[in-house]
């Protein structure tokens, strides 16, 4: 239980070392860069070790920079006041990752929103259906860098 054992387990199970993430203004944060297919095991481990408060799922499209879609999951341990950033990257051509909505129910809506805006296919999600956008924008993946809003098109 706690960050120490979580970091140790991350290193032994997945070979990932904790990195400092000083860019978080709020609290002490450690970053773990994992492989996308490990996300479910990592999420289970997070919940076991007391990182039970989910904050944000933030995908960033780095395709103009020659990289894929980066996914950032922010979690917090309420007792220890330590944040953990789980970072992974999926290719933009086929963005697929396992859904962890059953481990953290807070992610159900967030995953649904990011599916709608980025086109990330969260495997195993029960209701990947339109949430915020109207049906003219469905399937256009508006948050990707390749989508340019009408007034800005040349």
């Amino acid at each position: 239980m706690g960050f120490e054992s979580f970091a140790k387990k991350m290193e032994t199970y997945f070979g990932v070392k904790a990195e400092e993430y000083p860019q978080n203004r709020v609290a002490k944060t450690y970053m773990f860069k994992i492989q996308p297919h490990h996300i479910r095991e990592v999420a289970k481990l997070l919940k076991e070790e007391g990182f039970n408060f989910f904050h944000t799922l933030s995908p960033v499209d780095y395709s103009p920079k020659g990289r894929g879609l980066e996914l950032n999951y922010f979690f917090e341990s309420i007792e220890e006041r330590i944040w953990v950033l789980i970072r992974t990257e999926v290719p933009l051509e086929n963005p697929e990752i396992d859904s962890i909505h059953d481990i953290f129910p807070a992610l159900e809506a967030c995953e649904r929103e990011e599916w709608e805006k980025f086109g990330i296919n969260f495997k195993g999600h029960p209701r990947l259906k339109p949430l915020l956008l109207d049906d003219t924008l469905q399937g256009k993946w508006v948050q990707r860098k390749s989508y340019i809003p009408e007034p800005h098109r040349k």
Partner: protein, 176 residues
């Protein structure tokens, strides 16, 4: 004598204009302030009413997103004639600060042309009240509402109904 009597209806209507209790965007906060004690629009007879069936005018409060537009048109369609449109906020004119948004309709005056438009982002309650008094004048003179003559809202509403035939079969729906 008869015309005098008919004038009475315009006078009566103008002294108790009821608004559909419906907001499409954030300028509704200043409408809320208008309902409050400082600006107190009830001294002019204005009142929000939950059902569009009893309303005299509808307020387009700022932004109209694509998803809310059919709802707005349907609410307007359910109102009895004479019915008027009152628009506030820059978004209701050309999108305002959301001019490049992916999901905000930027040509509301072409779809549902308002009779009175109050500029601002958001307009102050004083400005809205001034516009509402102008609205009262229009109602008293029994001027024809702009949306009855022009605007593409009927075609758009028909498109929506074609997409969803269930709606037009509803007993409460009268059709524009």
């Amino acid at each position: 004598m008869l015309t005098k009597f008919l004038d009475f209806f315009g006078w009566a209507r103008a002294n108790s204009p009821w608004m559909v209790h419906y907001c499409s965007g954030c300028c509704s906060l200043e409408i809320l302030a208008l309902m409050g004690p400082r600006f107190d629009w009830e001294r002019y007879g204005f009142l929000p009413v939950p059902s569009p069936r009893q309303a005299d005018f509808i307020v387009i409060t700022g932004l109209v997103s694509r998803k809310v537009l059919p709802v707005l048109l349907m609410t307007y369609d359910q109102m009895p004639k004479p019915r008027y449109v009152f628009a506030i906020g820059a978004c209701a004119f050309d999108g305002g600060p959301y001019y490049d948004s992916t999901s905000v309709v930027t040509n509301i005056p072409e779809i549902l042309p308002p009779d009175v438009f109050v500029a601002g982002c958001p307009p102050t309650p004083e400005a809205i009240l001034d516009g509402l008094l102008e609205m009262k004048r229009i109602i008293r003179e029994k001027r024809e509402a702009r949306a009855e003559r022009e605007g593409t809202w009927r075609e758009i509403l028909k498109q929506e109904l074609k997409k969803n035939p269930l709606l037009s079969q509803q007993p409460f729906f009268v059709g524009g």
